[in-house]
């Protein structure tokens, strides 16, 4: 058969004979073309045929494979018709011929027929007879398509070619009728999304896509795009909105239910066609990121647990300071309660005084409750949450944990907070943790220089570049020059009892908030630590 001029194939149709006969009788099951081509196996192909449609993998790879895996989308119906026609014509010992239009071939004719040899009962031969329009342009185009096919089929990502022309026409029509707000339109016409998932069709897929979807072969995926959005119907809506609004591409992370029932996290990228490109090809790329997301979630959990462990350890060191904070309101409650009883035990009880004291008891109890709530907030396990925060407020809340420690060491404290500080986004507890850590760090540094009283200055301010900065200065011994670059390293410590995780945790928290933390010595002696966070505006 290689003597034939032009591309030539031999197909084994034994698997789909029943379907072919059924189609011949006028019964056309849904996606019969896809099923037929998936079951029609290539048993031979000549050199031109290999070049024409299968060149990315060579003849050896074509043989034994379903023709559906190679045949271009726009010609699938024609090929299926030819095969059915060839089987029907066999009885008449005839062939089925179709003249087609082509950009690369001059007046091509496709001819399909069956052998009349009994040994070849289930074999359909197909040939394309034509002259290339221009040898050079034909081969240049072929080579370019080969490269494209090679690229697509060996991509490690799932790749789908989708024909969304039917939807594009509907959009054009709606635009002509004056539709502007497509999101609102789809909200009130949800059936349009369901229809789109049916009329937009997958026309070709690569091997990674077959693998990703857990499909038997490519043909199982060809047809309506609906299964792609089964687990993420909202994604279909957003893909449509971006299409209507004329975006070139759209990406998001979505859930994908595979044909074999797995639920995956995939990164979806859609590239919409624009003129003068082929409008029938919308490209969809899918990357399975299930493992990556799971690993990232595990990593975040480990980091959160580690940060919490450091927080609890830090609070342990501050136990006496915290006990003092709780003891204050409790003492006031006891004194006020006993004083109330004294007023009540008088011959003429002073109920006005008792009412006043009872109000104070209630206030102090609430204050004690608030302190306990904050301590609990620092110790309970929580998933970091990003909310809008006032750093001045965070500083004051954090200060509660160390106030007594600072006062009991008679450290002079000055606080300068910039008013109306722009808000930052972050996790309240973690940012409190950073400030408490820096405060404890300064208190401990001052303690190393026992002779003097010590002073700590705290300040906040906003800069013109849209960052909010917290600065703490102490008059301790400062940081050894060699250590300045290492103070934020894990397990770096200059303290005998220290583990060296406090400042490392500060750095990881601030980095996770998109900020930066630094340390330096002050010219007048002592150290300065500061961190900046981007504002939420």
């Amino acid at each position: 058969m290689h003597r034939h001029k032009g591309a030539c194939w031999a197909f084994d149709i034994s698997l789909v004979r029943a379907l072919i006969e059924s189609v011949s009788l006028g019964n056309r099951p849904v996606d019969w073309v896809g099923t037929l081509l998936a079951g029609t196996l290539i048993i031979d192909a000549n050199g031109d045929a290999v070049h024409l449609f299968g060149a990315y993998s060579g003849r050896a790879r074509m043989v034994g494979q379903p023709v559906g895996s190679f045949w271009p989308a726009e010609g699938r119906n024609i090929l299926a018709d030819l095969i059915v026609g060839a089987v029907a014509a066999y009885a008449r010992r005839g062939a089925r011929k179709i003249r087609i239009k082509s950009l690369v071939l001059h007046d091509p004719v496709l001819i399909a027929w069956m052998s009349d040899s009994g040994e070849l009962a289930d074999i359909v031969f197909l040939t394309i007879v034509a002259e290339p329009v221009d040898d050079r342009s034909f081969w240049a185009l072929r080579t370019s398509e080969e490269r494209y096919n090679n690229l697509i089929h060996h991509l490690p990502f799932a790749f789908l070619e989708v024909d969304s022309r039917a939807q594009a026409e509907i959009f054009d029509e709606q635009r002509r009728k004056g539709l502007r707000d497509v999101a609102a339109y789809l909200d009130s016409n949800p059936d349009d999304i369901i229809r789109a998932r049916d009329i937009v069709r997958i026309t070709d897929v690569n091997r990674s896509a077959v693998q990703l979807f857990g499909a038997r072969d490519a043909s199982e995926l060809l047809g309506p795009v609906d299964p792609l959005f089964a687990a993420s119907p909202e994604t279909a809506r957003r893909v449509m909105i971006h299409h209507f609004e004329g975006y070139r591409s759209y990406s998001e992370i979505m859930k994908l239910r595979t044909l074999d029932g797995r639920l995956l996290d995939v990164s979806l990228s859609v590239t919409y066609p624009t003129r003068p490109e082929r409008l029938d090809i919308t490209l969809i790329m899918l990357e399975d990121i299930t493992d990556r997301l799971r690993t990232e979630a595990q990593l975040r959990q480990v980091q959160a647990d580690y940060t919490r462990a450091a927080r609890i350890s830090m609070l342990g060191e501050l136990a006496s300071s915290i006990a003092h904070e709780v003891n204050q309101p409790l003492s006031a409650i006891l004194t006020n309660a006993e004083t109330s009883l004294r007023w009540l035990s008088r011959d003429e009880p002073n109920l006005e005084k008792v009412a006043q004291l009872t109000t104070r008891i209630s206030d102090s109890a609430q204050h004690a409750g608030e302190i306990v709530r904050r301590i609990r907030g620092m110790t309970t396990r929580h998933v970091p949450r990003s909310v809008e925060l006032d750093l001045n407020e965070i500083l004051q809340e954090a200060f509660l944990f160390v106030r007594h420690d600072i006062e009991s060491r008679s450290i002079e404290l000055s606080i300068q907070l910039q008013r109306d500080l722009p808000r930052v986004r972050g996790d309240r507890v973690q940012l409190q943790q950073v400030i408490v850590n820096l405060l404890v760090n300064s208190v401990q540094a001052i303690q190393q220089r026992a002779a003097t009283r010590g002073a700590i200055e705290l300040s906040t301010n906003a800069d013109a570049r849209g960052a909010v900065t917290f600065t703490i200065r102490d008059d301790g011994p400062g940081i050894a020059e060699d250590d300045i670059d290492r103070v934020f390293n894990s397990f770096f410590t200059t303290k005998e009892e220290g583990v060296g995780i406090g400042l490392a945790i500060c750095q990881s928290i601030i980095a996770a908030h998109g900020g930066a933390i630094s340390a330096a010595n002050r010219p007048e002696g002592g150290a300065r630590f500061w961190f900046s966070l981007p504002t939420s505006e």
Binding site: A332, I333, T335, E338, S408
Partner: protein, 126 residues
């Protein structure tokens, strides 16, 4: 009752300051409260106070320094510490400097009244 000497209260914690003030009132004492040692020392009538109730840990001048300051001015004003600080070194320092009592919070009112009686040499039950 108003003949009893005036008592000074120095505590930076507002709730505690007010609680002590009311306690003294129900017990028949007159009192003035100060939020920090400096404002107490600045008060013109320091010499008019018969006794000082003070916290230990306070921003600025702390209670120990306040007592030392009074002694430096040759004042023999009785000083009673009311504090959460149970540190033995601080307690010893306070007592060595001439404190009448070193009471730790939370404390029963009766305990404070007993110390005041002692400081003012009042007889119980008066």
């Amino acid at each position: 009752m108003s003949k009893l000497p005036l008592i000074a209260i120095v505590d930076d914690d507002q709730a505690m300051r007010e609680a002590l003030f009311d306690l003294l009132q129900v017990e028949g004492f007159s009192a003035r409260a100060f939020a920090d040692a400096a404002s107490f020392l600045a008060a013109a009538a320091v010499t008019e106070f018969g006794c000082l109730l003070t916290d230990v840990r306070m921003p600025g001048i702390d209670g120990i320094e306040l007592q030392q300051c009074l002694r430096a001015r040759c004042s023999s004003m009785p000083v009673i510490f009311v504090t959460s600080d149970e540190d033995a070194v601080t307690r010893t320092q306070a007592m060595n400097d001439g404190a009448t009592a070193y009471l730790t919070k939370p404390l029963a009112n009766a305990e404070l009244v007993r110390s005041l009686d002692l400081a003012l040499e009042r007889r119980p039950g008066r």
